[in-house]
Subunit: 454 residues, 2 copies
């Protein structure tokens, strides 16, 4: 029997070979698509389904690509020739919500926003908030170690997971981590699996660390600056003041112009940049006032709102960034992260690269944590060589400034060729050997993350 | 040449074979001592010294036990027959303190309290605060994944490290992690090394994530309750209220009596228990008032102070717990952790075990995070069989309640026989194989943590 026949014999209609579905499973939201087409997409609905797929995959040495909602930005969940795409998107159950223990036990396919809607009824939330939260799954957030807008104050996925249920390549189920706040029993495999992009196993359950909804007024401050460097310096001054905003987003001139075009807003002055900052919690009003004063002392023209709905409208300009880029052409969204103090220097590097390559690189940044998203726009499906050349300079500049290739999107297929540049060859090899402990046959997402260099 | 001769040829007077020093290196603060005596203690002063020791250890297949200040409570840093004890206690440099990036780069031998004294001059602190902070090293805190009193609000060591420099068993140096707030490049080996108790490599440098000192008034609330169960229920009610205290410590009757005897205080009413709670930050005064009302509604007799020094005096009763226990005999400090809602049930289990074995088990708890420290008191150097039998029941009870063997002290030698009970055999074996990737010859802390079961 072929692999698909074996899968179908065991899992019936969960095994999907509809050409449209197979084609969709080739790509994620990075725009990048696998050159080939997977054998099948299996829509697992239970842990037992996942185990069955992996037992067949192990017996037949068939590669498995785990996939949630397919909203990744590094190509890690793209399925190709000869591969089984194992979707956990239908595993959406919430098994437990415990307000007293501030935890929830969920399946991986639930959307981040759906989970948070359910938690809100209990006065709770799960803090990780990638920009994709309305459409991305908790399992995908865990697989990539996702970040988002609120991270500087409220942490990333790694700070918000207590335990994971993991199916290994051979189908065995492990329970990693704890239900208690503290726990140091053995090695921290929960943290190791977070951000491992489908290379160590399949996350089939997660015990999440929750927060209580923040009470009080959410204040929003926006400020327009004559140029991006002064906006970056102003955001650094806010950080240096000791105030911790919930959100601090920076948009450069190219980003503002693209969003203005999309939303039919008046065009901002040429070269101008913007900060959008939110404060929350018991001191939010005082903090917003202090922040506005800091921004004004850095030549910012400010607007302060104490109204949550009006604040959301101001933030909508930032949230429109991705559609605004897509309206201009195919987009490669980059994701470098640097120490906060290096943000102005990183913007200088981006300006230098724009000049050198004669291309615009509209950039937004999570300014509170030094995570920048420079956008490359091009025609056609795949980035042309000069885009990759410019991106290569961008990565090297970030690493030289003490930063990293990827703050929150991951390595996937798109950045695997730079991974050893950041890790060093010794660490790259050590990490690859760790994946072999989990997956001795190398059937979990082969060719992703740890691609041997040519 | 013998191993000691080789070490001495390369490292000279750093190689210490003074019998007093060797004897001290056999034990940590758990009271437990290795039956044998190590070959030598090497007082490394540089990364190169650490690498030299490990190259000789690899060439000669000699076991290496890494040691900081020796304040561990699980025997993980105890040196025995045929072993090199590699001390990083003299590596105390602070290479960098960056208020703008909220990070510090330090060597592992610096004491937690000394680091925090230096950081305070910059308005900064490193949040992990094990009770041993005045005498324990940052490297030791990292090796154990230490917790402390402030964890529910401010996190544990794992939440406060950005990157680590690690010397592998063969002497190679790796740089793990990032300087940026976000970073998902490859596997998170930084988190894997935290809490690995000397089994993966030697931490020779750490990039720490700092916080700004919390401004405002620190308020302290103490409350006395008729019994420990009502104190536990009151602490759960505080957690359920949504207020996050900085510190919430619970002491049972046996603990209070022992401290009263040590400090010459009036004896509390028989059976009574106490909560000591601190609030900080902009809402601290309001929070303290609300907390006092909650405690009173749970039959607590409260005392509220807005004075930091008076608060420290109230907390001194809790901080005197360890000396109070030592005054009674040799102490085995246990460290189970359970979901917060299970704390009253865990106290019931402790009462049951006390009755069954006819022994007192004075217990304090970090009530904000469900981490309990039951104390076994005995005569002589090693716990007698009935203490281990009672501890065994304690561990099984904690695991049955959804908890863990160890919240913050680690496995070391003292708990290795229970490790597979919690992890399961499959995960235990997987973890052991991961240690083999780092240390293929098995020379790093052999016989600790992953001891094969008899």
């Amino acid at each position: 029997m072929s692999v698909v026949e074996q899968l179908t014999a065991e899992l019936g209609i969960l095994v999907d070979t509809d050409p449209v579905v197979l084609d969709q499973a080739r790509a994620d939201h990075s725009g990048h698509a696998s050159p080939g087409t997977p054998l099948a997409v299996v829509h697992a609905e239970t842990v037992a389904h996942v185990q069955a797929v992996l037992r067949i995959a192990t017996a037949t040495r068939t590669p498995v690509v785990v996939r949630g909602a397919g909203t990744g930005l590094a190509g890690a969940a793209n399925g190709g020739d000869g591969e089984i795409v194992l979707s956990t998107r239908r595993m959406t159950a919430i098994h437990e919500i415990r307000a007293d223990d501030l935890l929830a036990v969920v399946e991986p396919g639930i959307l981040n926003a759906d989970l948070n809607d359910a938690l809100a009824e209990h006065g709770l939330w799960w803090a990780p908030d990638p920009a994709s939260r309305a459409i991305s799954t908790v399992g995908g957030n865990i697989a990539t170690g996702a970040g988002g807008l609120l991270c500087a104050k409220y942490g990333v996925v790694r700070d918000a997971v207590l335990g994971l249920d993991l199916v290994l390549a051979d189908g065995r189920l492990l329970h990693l981590g704890h239900r208690s706040v503290k726990g140091v029993t053995g090695l921290d495999l929960t943290s190791l699996v977070i951000g491992s992009e489908g290379t160590l196993g399949v996350v089939v359950g997660a015990t999440l660390k929750l927060r209580r909804l923040v009470e009080g007024i959410t204040c929003t401050v926006t400020a327009t600056f004559p140029d991006v460097r002064s906006a970056a310096a102003a955001s650094a001054a806010v950080t240096a003041s000791g105030i911790q905003p919930a959100i601090m987003e920076l948009m450069d001139a190219g980003s503002l112009a693209a969003v203005a075009a999309l939303l039919d807003l008046p065009l901002p002055a040429a070269g101008s940049a913007q900060l959008t900052i939110q404060t929350d919690g018991p001191a939010s009003v005082v903090e917003a006032t202090t922040i506005a004063a800091i921004l004004e002392s850095h030549d910012g023209v400010t607007l302060v709102s104490h109204d949550r709905e009006e604040g959301e409208k101001l933030l909508a300009i930032r949230r429109a960034m991705h559609p605004a880029m897509s309206a201009l052409g195919t987009t490669l969204i980059e994701d470098v992260s640097v120490p906060r103090s290096a943000m102005p220097a990183m913007f200088d590097e981006i300006a230098r690269i724009e000049q050198k390559y004669g291309m615009a690189i509209p950039t937004v940044a999570h300014a509170g944590d030094g995570n920048l998203h420079p956008n490359f726009i091009f025609e056609g499906a795949e980035p042309p060589a000069e885009v990759w050349a410019a991106a290569d300079e961008l990565f090297r500049a970030a690493i030289a400034l003490g930063g990293t290739l990827t703050g929150e999107h991951g390595i996937g297929t798109l950045k695997s060729r730079w991974l050893a540049d950041e890790l060093g060859d010794d660490q790259w090899e050590l990490q690859r050997r760790i994946t072999q402990v989990f997956d001795p046959l190398g059937i979990l997402n082969p060719g992703k993350v740890f691609t041997p260099r040519a």
